[in-house]
């Protein structure tokens, strides 16, 4: 995996400034889409009473995930170090198969494409895709 260049980081930070204020909507929409489009992801949430994409649990989870992504943006210069606690959580407690990080990343990008049709240019897309891939790697750091 390539590292994030200064240009990538700038593109992510600049775009993220536009996202400000809409995080909750974006997060809930992304998780809702993940559950609708990739039903196998529901296997991680068997403890929820209601697994439908618009359920309160799904909405709450969308907000949680998005807070994590926002946190990662602020720690973009050292994702591995900055996300150590989250990595341990995913490795030892959640044990989410890392293939699923690609899934939620894709759903997040679809939502951003809908909400920011003019700002989500191919250049911004590639920077964000790289960032989310780096984030996924940082989260999987402690897996083995």
């Amino acid at each position: 995996m390539t590292t994030l260049t200064a240009k990538d980081k700038d593109a992510v930070r600049t775009f993220w400034a536009k996202v400000s204020g809409k995080e909750e909507d974006i997060g809930t929409d992304a998780v809702a889409r993940m559950l609708a489009v990739y039903p196998q992801t529901k296997t991680y949430f068997s403890h929820w009473k209601d697994l439908s994409p618009s359920s309160p649990s799904a909405r709450k989870h969308g907000i949680t995930v998005m807070k994590g992504v926002a946190d990662a943006v602020s720690k973009i210069d050292d994702l591995k170090g900055g996300l150590l606690a989250l990595s341990e959580l995913h490795a030892f407690t959640l044990r989410v198969d890392p293939a699923n990080f690609k899934i939620i990343s894709h759903c997040l990008l679809v939502v951003l494409s809908i909400k920011f049709p003019n700002d989500f240019t191919p250049e911004v897309h590639v920077a964000l895709d790289k960032f989310l891939a780096a984030l996924a790697l940082a989260l999987a750091e402690k897996y083995r």
């Binding site: 489009v37 679809v110 049709p117 240019t121 250049e123 897309h125 590639v126």
Partner: protein, 147 residues
């Protein structure tokens, strides 16, 4: 044999009836070449692909993007047998074009994102699920004749 419920059939037909082929096709292919630059390996004779602006403005990319998108029309018309609809194209992509089938998924992700931008809030989670299912069947059919 892929099972389609009415909602899925209607959704696919609806999306393609509204499709702006000359906008979405070029943008989807350009996005793929920019976001996943290794896909440029298949377009050595397309001229200037040196940066995002060049790719987005390249007329050969635009023309080919439109061609690819129209290529999906046959699947829309034959949803109950996409596998045999694309048997010949699958052979072409394998034997003549030598395209790694993983690339089909990359392009289909870019197409999903472009259609999402085009449809906005109408591109609900359920619509996305139907569209991605359709593309997954197309991708699988295109990879089927590889050996």
């Amino acid at each position: 044999m892929v099972e389609w419920i009415d909602f899925e059939r209607d959704t696919i037909v609806d999306i393609f009836s509204k499709m702006q082929y000359e906008v979405v096709g070029p943008e989807a292919l350009a996005r793929c070449l920019i976001v996943y630059p290794w896909t440029q390996r298949y377009f050595g004779n397309f001229g200037n692909l040196y940066n995002a602006a060049a790719i987005s403005g390249n007329p050969m990319v635009a023309k080919h993007g439109t061609t690819i998108l129209h290529g999906l029309d046959r699947a829309v018309k034959n949803m109950d047998d996409i596998k045999s609809t694309y048997a010949e194209l699958s052979v072409l992509h394998s034997e003549k074009l030598h395209v790694d089938p993983d690339n089909f998924k990359l392009l289909s992700d870019c197409l999903t994102i472009e259609v999402a931008a085009q449809l906005g809030n109408d591109f609900t989670g359920e619509v996305q699920a139907a569209f991605q299912k359709f593309l997954a069947v197309v991708v699988s059919s295109l990879g089927r004749q590889y050996h």
